[in-house]
């Protein structure tokens, strides 16, 4: 029995509070305790943020590629990309569109790009070819 619960019962026994008041207090105490134990409570330790974007390629013939890119590097790259002069941005956009990446870097704000990197953390790509080769992209 907790101290708070004991105090409420003692107050009830001494007649300082009525049975209804004691019940209300006990209910409030229960709610408070269950909120503390809830997984969504702010006291619950947060899941550690991933720091790296990882790429793993495994070929059937034995070739292996492992690349680990720090997410901070992507963020710094985003900052740098915002400094590209407007004349060059048009050329960059055209080249990126050629490769199938249709993003207008002149319009994309650093905040939006940073948010995109944040969302990358929940992304996982897992490709398995019929031949047995695999490609995995994930954050860790």
């Amino acid at each position: 029995m907790t101290d708070s619960r004991r105090k409420i019962l003692q107050m009830l026994a001494k007649g300082k509070i009525t049975a209804d008041e004691a019940e209300r207090l006990l209910n409030a105490l229960n709610e408070e305790q269950s909120a503390d134990q809830s997984p969504d409570s702010p006291t619950t330790p947060a899941k550690p943020k991933p720091r790296f974007l990882k790429l793993q390629v495994r070929e059937v013939d034995g070739d292996k590629v492992d690349v680990q890119i720090p997410l901070d590097l992507l963020r710094a790259g985003v900052k740098l990309s915002t400094l590209i002069p407007k004349q060059a941005q048009a050329k960059v956009n055209a080249k990126m569109a050629e490769k199938g990446i249709d993003i207008d870097f002149a319009q994309a704000l650093p905040d939006q790009l940073n948010r995109l990197i944040d969302y990358l953390q929940d992304m996982a790509v897992n490709v398995e070819e019929a031949s047995g080769s695999t490609v995995r992209i994930f954050c860790e």
Binding site: R51, F52, E59, D61, G62, D63, K64, V65, D66, V67, Q68, I69, P70, D72, L73, R75, A76, G77, K79, L80, L83, I84, P85
Partner: protein
């Protein structure tokens, strides 16, 4: 605070067993670079002002981001193992 990378390791080997192994202690470079930058600071400020006057301020801003970009490379790893025994490994710690 993000600390700059302290060690760069490069390992390249081909099928004929030609090997290149590099271990570069970057932690020695940073203090030297810091001293050089501090000594050249008045000149750098002057150059930055000239760039801003010539409407090339973006170059100065890019130069200011470069140290951050460099520091963010810590943890970068590239590891390629060919089936024929070829190895390319770059690790920034």
């Amino acid at each position: 605070m993000i600390w700059p990378p302290s060690i760069l390791r490069v390992h390249i080997a081909d099928a004929q067993r030609t090997r290149i192994r590099l271990w570069l202690p970057l932690f020695i470079v940073w203090p030297i670079l810091l001293i050089i930058t501090a000594l050249l600071l008045p000149v750098l400020v002057l150059v930055a002002m000239v760039f801003y006057i010539c409407r090339l301020g973006w170059l100065v801003r890019a130069a200011l981001i470069l140290p951050q970009l460099l520091a963010a490379t810590r943890g970068l790893r590239v590891n390629i193992n060919g089936s024929g025994g070829q190895i390319v490994r770059v690790i920034i710690q």
